[in-house]
């Protein structure tokens, strides 16, 4: 298990944990334009998760180019 594998695993596991753990965002306030936190936080996450997913994609490509070890 190389460091790059650990980083890649975390890039997928952390977004899953944040979205899975409902008590983290199950609040009314602060509101955004009248929309409760519960709703806007989860919508915002749809944009934010793209960042770790793209980072994963980039690292996976590097692994592919090194050849073989995927």
């Amino acid at each position: 298990m190389r460091a790059i594998h650990v980083v890649m695993a975390l890039l997928l596991i952390v977004p899953i944990l944040i979205n899975f753990y409902t008590p983290l965002y199950n609040y009314v306030n602060p509101k955004f334009e009248g929309l409760p936190f519960f709703y806007w936080f989860q919508i915002m996450m749809l944009f934010i998760v793209v960042i770790p997913y793209l980072a994963f994609t980039y690292l996976a490509k590097r692994l592919d180019e090194e050849g073989g070890s995927s």
Binding site: L12, I13, I16, N19, P36, F38, I43, A60
Partner: protein, 513 residues
Amino acid sequence: MSDSTTVISVFVVLFAIFAFLGFYGSRWRKGDMNHLHEWALAGRRLGATLAFFLVGADLYTAYTFVAVPSGVFAKGSLYFFAVPYVAMTFAVALAFAPKLWKLSKEKGYITGSDFVRDAFDSRTLSILVALTGIVAVFPYIALQIVGMQAVLTSMLAGFGNTETVQEVSLVIAFLILAAFTFTSGLRGATLTAVFKDVLIWITVVVVIAAALYEVGGFSHVFSNPNIKPNYITVPSSLVPGYATLAFASAIQLYLYPHAINGILSAESAHKLRISTSFLSIYGVGLALLALFGLIVYSVPSAMSFLSNFPASSRGVLVVPALILATVPSWFAGVALLAVFVGGLVPAAIMAIAQANLLTRNIIKEFRPNLSASSETRIAKWASAIFKFIALGFVFTVQSTYAIQLQLFGGILIAQLFPSLFMGLYIRWFKKEALTAGLIVGILSGLYMVLVANGFGTPKFTGLNSSLYSTPFGALYISVLSLGLNLLVTVLLSAVIKRAPKQVAVQPAPAAGS
């Protein structure tokens, strides 16, 4: 409300263009359509953009347009679980899909069952995986039919009593679906998926803007007296259900045969990863549509339209009603067409995937000498016949709770997780263990569904719930039956490994690859 003649005319004209695209699509980048991988995988030549649209099409279905808003409308924020589900599902996909793509490219798999058969050397397991895939898709197709029916019902509402209108709508929706799948194949469906997605994005943005303008912003939506606390956050008793519904759905999406088709039709593993990374943004539309289920309470003309229908079927009409109430008639025609083909295209893609599994992984096991052209012929006819079975599922649920159809299919498809996905990395699993686990998972899932819905008692009214009470709260049945499945798979794999005969025959099958 809208002028129904205008709405229907725009709808019909656009539908004609759409049908032409589907038909033309079967000739686009033409391969030999008598070969199954041409009809069903578009020849494995879809780049990042088209693969994005094809998988996106699986995501943006009547589930998004009709079932989720309906659930939110009727039951509140519990059904917003679809949003964290979308945020999570692409992480699951990134972990497994590119690996499956590479193996498939190397070994020529075109279905998930192909992989299972080769990796675990088991015909029984491969056939069971194929059968599970086929059966799990039926309720999902049924959900699409409910969505198409809802659109037609909302357009024809003025032309007769509600019951007749709903029945006629169901028949028309079904006939269009059958004809469309038969003529187009995956190429046609992909091309129309692009058309559909463009219409859908326009529709979502315009309608939410128009609706919010009409009601004066979200602060008015949430101060409406009908918006109870359980519409604002998830009540604590439902939090375990919310989290497990989202998590299990995330695991399930890519196990469906049509999603695997989408994976395998990508042009390279890297392009597949790129399109997958961006797909969560697609979920924004889903989230906005889910909010329609709340906004509609503040639009009096939409509410009075809905009051013409019984509560059991009112929910699915939320989005069509909001469209008719807030945008000009001609645009309502465009928007309703988007919702209609939003059910039609995925249903066609799903039916194609089912037929693929049937011919390749079941019939060919028994008739190995089947010619390529009769294989394709059987696949096309099977996909037509399968739709009648899907139609049967329409009647197992009150349409307001149509989301239960997808959740039920999900309980079945989740049971493929150990063999299809974990099996990509863990070859230590034994075929007998995976087979036993799959059977235990499905039977326990069915049992819990029956108990949760009070089957055999007077309170049974069809599929209403997918949550099962446990000491940890009410959890989505899928995670419970998958837990049992994994337990059986791991325990049996450990036991079988110790049998001396196996060790002698298979020298050191190392874990991982």
